[in-house]
């Protein structure tokens, strides 16, 4: 086929009227592929024009045939259906295009890899060169040091030789002993300071030492004085600077967001001023004081710097925005206003927060108290109830006691009544008998009659009662009999239990064993009394 040189594609402009000259000279396909790499991909815009520039409406045939030629030379199959025909084989064309794209991708990747390798190699080269130079330097240094040591050694040797010669010469010179006086003076001169020369003694040695140290000490003292002076001067200057800085800084016109940093600093300032003013009196130079001073100055300086920077920004903004004086001032005002508003907002927020807190407290407080109160009430009631209970029990006990006494009294009364009835019965009987016997002995003692009448009453009662029911025989003695009597009376008064029970106040609720017996005795007492009364009534009737 021959050699083909690729088309040189210059940087394309968007001008579509450009007609690019194609010089298709012959070159080997191998080199062609490498030269393809060097083609700079045209930009998207120019691509369009590039494409349109190559193939236009007029030269379709030629361009196609050209492309076919190129492709076949590169080893691709022809894009024509037949080798000579004018019909395009779309399939093969598409295939060719695909192949070309794949090839392009491959080539790009290869290029990338080569570039990376190139970079790596470059850096490796640099590194190696550095190492090489370092090694070279080290080597040279080693050479120099070895030469230097050798040289020193040789020098020392030569010097020793030289010293030997000198010694020898000195000996010779000294031995020669010049006859003539070495020094010839007309007359000796007085010392410059007028004093006589002193002998060399230990004392003078000591004095020399002393003087030497004095000289040294005075020098040190002088230096120290100078340094102290310098220090105090510097401290004064720093203090002054600090004061100036503080005065320069705007004290109130500070934004709330800065307050957090400046607030504590301000208080520090005041602290520092106070402290350092005190310290100044002492003119201490201890570490802490120095640090304090320098730290406070640094702080102040930073604040001042920030302030100045802010001012600069303001000014520059003012300049760049081409604002006039009014706007600048109004901005300042605006900033002031915003500051104030923010302050207000914060205050309001705080107020709201505190109110909320208080409210919450209150709410939580009510619940508690009500609960407490409720508890208190319950407790109170309980206590009251307990008190009443106690009282009730006490009363009950009292009642019990009373009842007991009542029953006892009733029993006694019953017994007495019985006795009386019996006596009465007996007396009546006696009377009757006596009456019948024509009362021969009227001096039957009335007092005993009474007793007897009681007995007789009792008997009467007994007998009366015997008439009613078949009771157990009651003995005349009262004391062992009361229970029997009570039994008897209860039997009698079983029927009349109810009305007897109604007689008593209804305070009894519970029922114990004790209560039963008490009830029994009570009912007996009641019924007893009742029956006794009836019985008495009955007795009196006849």
């Amino acid at each position: 086929m021959g050699d083909w040189r690729t088309v040189t594609v210059p940087l394309l402009s968007s001008d579509s009227k450009n007609i690019f000259p194609y010089t298709s000279e012959r070159k080997s396909p191998a080199s062609m592929s490498s030269e393809v790499l060097r083609l700079s991909l045209p930009s998207a815009k120019s691509m369009h024009s590039f494409f349109s520039a190559f193939c236009t409406e007029e030269n379709i045939e030629q361009s196609i045939s050209y492309i076919d030629r190129e492709l076949t030379t590169m080893g691709f199959p022809s894009i024509y259906v037949e080798s000579k025909g004018k019909e395009l084989d779309l399939v093969s064309m598409v295939n060719c295009m695909n192949e070309l794209l794949v090839l392009q991708h491959k080539n790009l990747r290869a290029q990338e890899e080569i570039e990376i390798q190139h970079l790596k190699l470059g850096s490796d080269m640099d590194h190696l060169q550095n190492c090489y130079t370092k090694l070279k330097v080290q080597k040279l240094q080693n050479v120099i040091s070895s030469r230097a040591t050798q040289y020193n050694h040789d020098m020392k040797r030569k010097e020793r030789e030289y010293n030997k010669l000198k010694e020898r010469l000195h000996q010779l010179v000294m031995n020669k002993k010049d006859k003539k006086l070495a020094m010839e003076v007309l007359n000796y001169v007085g010392r410059a300071d007028g004093k006589r020369g002193a002998w060399r003694t230990d004392k003078t040695e000591a004095r020399n030492e002393e003087e030497m140290y004095k000289v040294l000490l005075s020098d040190y003292e002088q230096r120290q004085k100078q340094l102290l002076l310098e220090n105090t001067e510097l401290k004064k200057v720093l203090q002054q600077m600090k004061k100036d800085i503080i005065s320069l800084l705007p004290p109130q016109k500070q934004k709330p967001k800065e307050r957090s940093e400046d607030g504590p600093v301000l208080s520090d300032q005041e602290e520092d001023i106070g402290e350092l003013n005190k310290e100044n009196m002492w003119e201490l130079s201890c570490e802490t004081v120095r640090e304090q001073l320098t730290n406070s100055i640094r702080k102040q300086w930073r604040m001042l710097k920030n302030h100045v920077e802010k001012l600069d920004n303001q000014v520059s903004r003012g300049h760049s925005g081409a604002l006039n004086e009014k706007d600048v001032i109004s901005r300042e005002d605006h900033e002031l206003e915003t500051g104030k508003l923010e302050l207000e907002i914060q205050q309001c927020k705080e107020m709201i927060r505190t109110q909320q807190q208080l409210l919450q407290q209150q709410l939580t407080c009510d619940d508690d108290t009500t609960l407490l109160l409720q508890d208190c009430y319950l407790l109170e009631e309980r206590e009251r109830l307990q008190e009443e209970w106690r009282l009730f029990r006490e009363q009950k006990r009292n009642f019990e006691k009373e009842r007991k006494s009542f029953t006892e009294a009733a029993i006694r009364l019953g017994l007495e009544r019985k006795a009386f009835e019996e006596d009465r019965g007996a007396w009546l009987k006696h009377q009757f008998l006596s009456m019948t016997a024509d009362c021969k002995s009227e001096n039957s003692t009335t007092p005993s009659a009474f007793l007897r009448s009681a007995d007789t009453d009792l008997r009467l009662v007994r007998s009366a009662s015997q008439q009613k029911r078949p009771p157990s025989v009651l003995s005349t003695t009262a004391s062992p009999e009361p229970c029997q009597i009570s039994q008897y009376i209860t039997q009698n008064s079983v029927a009349s239990e109810k009305p007897a029970a109604d007689y008593l106040p209804n305070l009894w609720v519970g029922s114990d064993g004790k209560e039963e017996t008490e009830e029994c005795t009570k009912t007996w007492e009641d019924s007893g009394l009742d029956t006794l009364c009836r019985n008495l009534h009955m007795e009196q009737l006849p």
Partner: protein
């Protein structure tokens, strides 16, 4: 500024009175009028002269003969002669009290202390042969001597009053190069050879206060200077930097760099530019008159202020020579501690003036020729610089000025020296000297 006549000299010492010597004659002049006050004749060619601290005596050292001769200003008849004999002489100096002479014998075998008051002689053995081996404190009380025994360095501190040994301790140096007292007399700086960057600071009582080392392998310290208040120690090194240590912690507080390009906008750069000589409209005659010739060939220069960034004249150092012209080789503090002048040897035409209060580069003076010498006025912050040309350059915070030495021919200033009052300055060429008088500004 006014100048005096140029005199031929071989050596000169100017602290109080200009004493100059020519060959074997010592000429003492008056400071203000430069009239000859005294004339002394020595045995041999004088290599070195030094005034005593109270300006009563002057010593003349003749190294070749190993002789030192001492003359008195008050009593011209008085004389003194010290002969080292076969021991030889390499150095001689006064003690601070002005009554003792310290002679260093050949090969640094020993230092002999000769007393003018008594007949006594003291010896200091094993002195170190280094650049600055003997150092006196400013108040003259103590003397530090560098010693070396058995390949190890030591320092001995003597009390000058009675030459008693006060302290003797070893130093952790490879090869001690120099020692210098701080102006307050309480700290002694000792530094190692340039192969090892190391500075050791000792207290007067011999305690090691601190040790400083900036780096390990490259060449180290080239120059050192204390500030007059003893607050700073400036260390100039071969890496073209100056490191400043402070006296409180003995730690480096800053590094001053000397780059070839100045970029800092705050720095003032003065550049010396030549003014082309203006020729008169008169016709040039042949042969040219002397005046004309001198005016033709002598160039005028002035200072121009250059706009930052400025690129300075940088000389790349030769790698394979010893003592390379690299690094900060000259350092000097001004008398009021406010300025530090430095010279970086690979930018040889520039003087760097640093403001010590801000630790920043204040001024750079770029000259046409390489800097030979500079010295601060002992009284005020004024720097005098010479570059080997016939001009002396003065800088002060008010500005800088070029001063030309008037006279015939070229007077190539290689060295200069201020008078202790700060009113006059001595300018030295190879074999001539002249005195420059500076007018004092009236303070209103």
């Amino acid at each position: 500024a006014s100048f005096c006549r140029v005199f031929k000299i071989s050596y000169l010492n100017f602290e109080r009175f200009p004493a100059s010597c020519v060959q074997h004659r010592l000429v003492v002049r008056d400071a203000s009028t430069l009239q000859i006050l005294h004339l002394y004749t020595c045995t041999d060619q004088i290599q070195y002269i030094e005034w005593s601290s109270d300006s009563q005596f002057i010593l003349c050292a003749m190294y070749k003969r190993g002789l030192v001769q001492v003359w008195s200003l008050e009593q011209p008849d008085w004389h003194c002669r010290i002969d080292e004999g076969s021991a030889g002489l390499v150095a001689s100096c006064w003690s601070p009290d002005g009554r003792h002479i310290l002679n260093t014998t050949e090969f640094h075998l020993r230092i002999t202390v000769w007393s003018l008051c008594t007949k006594s002689v003291s010896y200091i053995k094993y002195p170190k042969a280094c650049q600055q081996g003997v150092a006196f404190t400013k108040d003259g009380r103590y003397m530090a001597v560098a010693e070396r025994r058995d390949c190890k360095d030591f320092i001995s501190i003597f009390v000058c009053r009675n030459w008693q040994l006060l302290r003797h301790f070893d130093t952790e140096t490879q090869d001690l190069f120099g020692i210098e007292w701080a102006p307050n007399g309480c700290v002694l700086a000792a530094w190692d050879t340039c192969l090892e960057y190391k500075v050791l600071l000792y207290s007067l009582d011999g305690r090691l206060l601190s040790s400083y080392r900036a780096y390990e392998w490259p060449l180290g310290i080239k120059s050192i200077a204390w500030s007059p208040s003893s607050q700073f120690l400036a260390i100039g090194s071969f890496d073209e930097k100056v490191r400043i240590l402070n006296h409180v912690t003995w730690k480096k507080i800053t590094e001053l760099e000397h780059p070839a390009v100045i970029t800092n906008k705050k720095t003032i750069v003065y550049k010396e530019v030549e003014k082309s000589p203006t020729l008169g409209t008169e016709r040039l005659s042949f042969p040219p008159t002397r005046a004309l010739a001198s005016s033709l060939f002598s160039t005028q220069s002035k200072y121009d202020i250059c706009q930052v960034p400025v690129s300075l004249n940088y000389i790349k150092p030769v790698a394979d020579k010893a003592n390379p012209k690299v690094g900060v080789g000259m350092l000097a503090f001004s008398a009021d501690n406010c300025f530090l002048a430095t010279k970086n040897d690979n930018i040889p035409n520039a003087v760097w003036i640093w403001d010590m209060r801000k630790l920043k580069l204040a001024v750079v003076l770029e000259q046409l020729y390489s800097i030979q010498c500079f010295q601060w006025d002992p009284c005020q912050p004024r720097l005098a610089v010479c570059t080997g040309s016939s001009r002396v350059y003065l800088w002060s915070p008010a500005g800088c000025v070029v001063v030309k030495v008037p006279g015939e021919g070229d007077f190539q200033i290689v060295s200069l020296s201020w008078h202790s009052s700060g009113d006059s300055m001595l300018l030295l060429s190879k074999d001539h000297f002249c005195v420059c008088y500076l007018e004092r500004e009236e303070v209103k």
